[in-house]
């Protein structure tokens, strides 16, 4: 049981890591970014590219990935958001679906269909604690996720740029009146989210491997985590991710492995029906 929970928590951390950047973009532009799973995937693939094709070390590859991803973030903004910023949100959502198809198939064309992996920063040792055993990499996942989680909370509440981003996210018109350069803030958000995706990519690649379809897989799971927690809430996302990760493992182990994903989706549907604002989200009243 403890073994299952430990594994479940590490899975949950990856869902949450994917969710962080996603929520960042969601808060800033008010639209779901369907391409974010693929962006996480590219974070890993850029690292793979640097290691495999340039023969760089893992650390250097990570730096390369962060830089390349910043570029991808800018591309995401200028290609799939900025031209549509004054249009209905629907337009932006569909553009993000288009971007996700574009990125997924680009990865297929560039790196082929074979799954690949990149090494972990901590190697592939195992940690034994009593009867529980897990790869050291899972410990790294826990630490990095906790760090990013605290960092994100701190960033938005304590730093001036974070507060500006937060203000932009809450009300763009208001932010404009306060003298915040909204477009620049949104660009920064896309870049930040893409850099977070780079970290997420490096965390998931050693355990889950990289393949062109992995982005779609994790974004769907991240969605469920986000809905459980409540859209836009970082706390909710963390809780939702961990809950989903642990639930999945426990269901597969004790209930049914065949219908495991059906149960995850049913949780999503149930939460949407019973508690559309999630466990941490705020209820927003409609204005006339």
């Amino acid at each position: 049981m403890i073994q299952e929970i430990v594994s479940g928590l590490s899975i949950g951390c990856i869902y949450a890591m994917t969710g962080f950047g996603f929520v960042l973009i969601y808060n800033a532009v008010g639209a779901v970014n369907f391409a974010y799973g693929e962006i996480v995937m590219f974070g890993g693939y850029f690292g793979y590219l640097a290691i495999q094709s340039f023969g760089w070390s893992l650390g250097l590859a990570f730096l390369f990935s962060i830089l390349a991803m910043a570029g991808l973030g800018i591309f995401n903004d200028y290609f799939a958001y900025f031209p549509m910023r004054h249009r209905p949100v629907v337009t932006v959502i569909i553009a993000s679906i288009g971007l996700s198809i574009l990125l997924r198939n680009s990865a297929l064309a560039i790196w082929g269909p074979d799954p690949v992996k990149i090494k972990s920063f901590v190697g592939d040792q195992l940690v034994h604690i009593g009867n529980v055993v897990f790869p050291l990499h899972q410990l790294l996942i826990f630490i990095v996720t906790a760090f990013i989680f605290v960092g994100q909370v701190f960033f938005f509440s304590r730093t001036s740029i974070g507060r500006k981003l937060e203000a932009t996210a809450q009300d763009q018109e208001m932010a404009k009146l306060m003298g915040i350069k909204v477009n620049r803030m949104i660009l920064l958000t896309f870049v930040l989210a893409a850099c977070l995706a780079s970290i997420a990519g490096f965390l998931l690649a050693p355990l889950w491997f990289l393949e062109p379809d992995v982005g779609l897989y994790i974004i769907v799971k991240a969605f469920i985590a986000i809905v459980i927690g409540g859209f836009g809430s970082v706390y909710g996302l963390m809780a939702g991710g961990l809950f989903l990760g642990v639930t999945e493992v426990l269901v597969a182990s004790h209930l049914t492995s065949e219908y495991k994903d059906v149960i995850s989706f049913l949780i999503l549907v149930t939460v949407l029906i019973v508690l559309p604002q999630g466990f941490f989200g705020e209820k927003v009243a409609e204005k006339v």
Partner: protein
Amino acid sequence: MGFTKRQMIVTLICFAAAVVLPIFFRGSRYYMNLFNLAGIFIILTFSLNYIHGYLGLISIGQAGFFAIGAYITAGLTMGLGINYFPALLLASIAAALAGVLLGLPASRIGGHYFVLITLAFGEIVRLIILNWKEVTHGTNGVNNIPPPRLGPLLIESRFAYYYLVLFFIIVTMVVAASVRRSKYGRSMLATKVGELAANVMGINPLSTKLINFGISSFFAGLAGGLYASYIGSISPEAFDVDLSVDILTMTLVGGSGTIPGPVIGATALVFLKEWLRAVKEYYMIIYGAGIVLIMIFMPYGIMGLLRRVRDVISSREVR
């Protein structure tokens, strides 16, 4: 708001062309196949056109209703030996019921949540088909689905099937037109632009949306039933999210909320995807980029573009 004379003439010409067209392509199984596929996609696109065009919602779960229609049609004709046409009707009604059922929770939520709940629905349907092997035969799928029989007539050739599909396209379009110009269509459109205002004007948002979902999934199911007997073999792989995204793209490319839009969008994309085959592994990349570019440059689809062109021309005429 009736049809103008010009609209009537254009419609008649299009229908005449649609009736005559296959005679020139009769020899080409390849083109006949594309026409038939386009036809089935036209009906599917009409189904999403209700949800997106009339309620402003995005569904990426249409493949689920399509699958329900396909599997139930196959099951009724093969398992129970029911004639194709009643089976098709029953399957479409079953899909409509599924739509209403999904609508009960889904109508209370909007925007992103709606996208996600439809995504979840589509995936649940696919996973159940995949795993409920006793009924659906899992990945093996249902094979050798018999072609439709109309009295002594066996609709087997692609040429014959074309007219069957054409018939159902006409039915779909007539229903779409009559819904649009009825109180139901107006209620939907009013709910789309201002749900609360429409509610205050006496429109029950729940029943309006449920009717919309019901009609929408009815036609998705109808398309599924046509697809099943046309391809003759169905398996869960055919009904994944990518299909739902394709339908969404077709709706938008054509111009959602209009009657000619789905026809234009579905036909254009079925053929475009074929032409892009020349670039082999890159065609899905171009397809993805295309969706974004359409959103940037043609947010109201081809119909929107045509309308703009018409407005420019007519304003010149005035001058």
